[in-house]
C-alpha cells in the first residue's frame, strides 16, 4: 500500500445511513410498484403514508442527530407562544462529523422531495385526486424536514459566529487590560 495515498473516509454510521435511506426508498418503491399491481387504494394509502411518517420520525429524531448533529422541534412557552427550538453539537464535534454521512443525509432528503413532486405531477396529469392525497402527505413530510434542518443549520452558524465574535472581543479586552496593568 502506498503510504502517501490519502485515506478516503468511509461512512462513520453505516447502520444509521441505512435506516435513513430505507424508509424513504420503501415508501417510494411501494407507491410506484403498488400503483401497477395492487388495486386497493386504502392499502396503498395506509402503507405509503405509514412508511413516509416513519421516515419523517427517523430523520428528525435519529439520523439528523447522528449524521449531522442537528435537532429541531417546536415548543409552546409559558406565554402560550409557539417557539421553534434548534439544537446542535458544539463546533468541534460538528467539524469532526463524517463528510460522507452528511452528504448522504442532505442529498437523499432533497432527492426524495423531488421524486414525490415528480410523482405528484404524474398524478395531476392523470387527474387522480385520491393519489394526489397520498403524495400531498408525503411531500409535506419531506419538505417539513428539509425546512426544519436547514433552519437549524443556519441557526447553528449564527450561534457560532456570535460565540466567535464574543470570544474575540473578550480576548481583546483582556489583552488590553493586561497590557495596561504591566505599565
Amino acid at each position: 500500500m502506498d503510504p502517501n495515498q490519502p485515506v478516503t473516509e468511509n461512512y462513520a454510521n453505516p447502520k444509521t445511513c441505512f435506516f435513513h435511506v430505507l424508509f424513504k426508498a420503501a415508501a417510494l418503491a411501494f407507491y410506484i410498484l403498488s400503483a401497477l399491481f395492487i388495486d386497493n387504494f386504502v392499502i396503498i394509502f395506509v402503507v405509503t403514508v405509514l412508511l413516509a411518517a416513519l421516515d419523517f420520525w427517523v430523520v428528525k429524531n435519529v439520523s439528523g442527530r447522528i449524521l449531522v448533529g442537528l435537532r429541531w422541534w417546536n415548543e409552546i412557552n409559558d406565554l402560550g407562544e409557539s417557539v421553534w427550538k434548534f439544537e446542535c453539537l458544539d463546533q468541534e464535534s460538528l467539524a469532526r462529523m463524517n463528510k460522507k454521512d452528511s452528504w448522504l443525509f442532505w442529498w437523499t432528503l432533497y432527492l426524495t422531495a423531488v421524486a414525490w413532486i415528480v410523482l405528484g405531477i404524474f398524478s395531476l396529469i392523470r387527474l387522480q385526486a385520491d393519489y394526489l392525497l397520498v403524495i400531498g402527505v408525503c411531500v409535506t413530510l419531506s419538505i417539513a424536514n428539509i425546512v426544519g434542518f436547514t433552519k437549524c443549520k443556519k441557526d447553528a452558524k449564527k450561534q457560532f459566529q456570535q460565540f466567535a465574535s464574543q470570544t474575540l472581543a473578550s480576548r481583546f479586552s483582556s489583552t488590553l487590560s493586561s497590557a495596561f496593568s504591566v505599565v
Partner: protein, 203 residues
C-alpha cells in the same frame, strides 16, 4: 508546609457544550434511540389523557396541550377512515379517501375559523387537539362496525359525539373572545355531527 491537593474535578456526565444559547444541554442529541421512542410514546399517551379524559388541567388550555404532537391525531384519523371503510360494503376506497380528506381538511378549516375570528391559538396545537378529540368517535365507529343494530348505533354515536364535543369545548372556547364563543364552537360540533351521521349511515 504540605499543600492540600485540590480535589479532582467531577467527571461530567454530559458532553461539553459550547457557549450559552444553544438551548437545553444536548442530552437529546446523544440519547439512545430507544429513549426517544419511549419519550414520544409516553407523550402521545399523556396528550390523550389530557384531552379526552377529565383532569385538573382541562380548564387551563395553555397547559393542556403544550407538548402537542401529530402522531396521535394521525393515527386516530387513519383509524376512523379504516373503520368506516371496513363498514362500507361498496366503494371502500372512496369512503376511506373521503373520510380522511374530510377529517384532515375539517381540522384545518376549524383552526382557520378560530384564527379568523381573532382568536389566539397555535395552528399545530389546534390540529393536534382536534385530532385527539376524534378518539371517542373512533371508539364509537368501532362499536358500530362490530354491532349492526341501528338503535345501538344511534345511542353510541350520540354518546361519543357528546364526549368529543366536551373534549374540544374548553380549548376552543377559551381561545376566542367570549362573545364569539358560539361562532367558534358551532362548526366543531357540526363537524362531529356529520362524522356521526357518516358512522350511522354507513352500510
Amino acid at each position: 508546609s504540605a499543600s492540600v491537593p485540590a480535589p479532582p474535578p467531577l467527571p461530567s456526565s454530559r458532553p461539553e457544550i459550547a457557549a450559552s444559547g444553544f438551548g437545553p444541554a444536548p442530552n437529546t442529541l446523544t440519547e439512545p434511540v430507544w429513549d426517544t421512542v419511549k419519550r414520544d410514546l409516553s407523550r402521545i399517551i399523556s396528550n390523550l389523557k389530557l384531552v379526552v379524559f377529565p383532569n385538573p388541567y382541562r380548564e387551563d388550555p395553555g397547559k393542556a396541550l403544550r407538548d402537542w404532537d401529530l402522531w396521535g391525531p394521525f393515527f386516530f384519523i387513519v383509524f376512523l377512515g379504516l373503520t368506516l371503510s371496513w363498514s362500507a360494503s361498496v366503494k371502500k376506497s372512496e369512503v376511506f379517501a373521503v373520510a380522511f380528506g374530510l377529517l384532515a381538511a375539517g381540522a384545518v378549516i376549524l383552526t382557520l375559523n378560530v384564527l379568523l375570528l381573532g382568536g389566539h391559538i397555535i395552528f399545530f396545537q389546534s390540529l393536534s387537539l382536534l385530532g385527539y378529540c376524534l378518539f371517542p368517535l373512533d371508539v364509537g365507529a368501532l362499536i358500530c362496525m362490530l354491532k349492526d343494530n341501528v338503535i345501538l348505533k344511534i345511542v353510541v354515536v350520540c354518546v361519543t359525539l357528546a364526549w368529543s364535543s366536551w373534549a374540544a369545548y374548553p380549548f376552543m372556547s377559551s381561545a376566542v373572545n367570549p362573545r364569539r364563543k358560539a361562532l367558534a364552537l358551532y362548526p366543531v360540533f357540526l363537524m362531529y355531527v356529520s362524522v356521526g351521521f357518516l358512522i350511522i349511515a354507513i352500510d
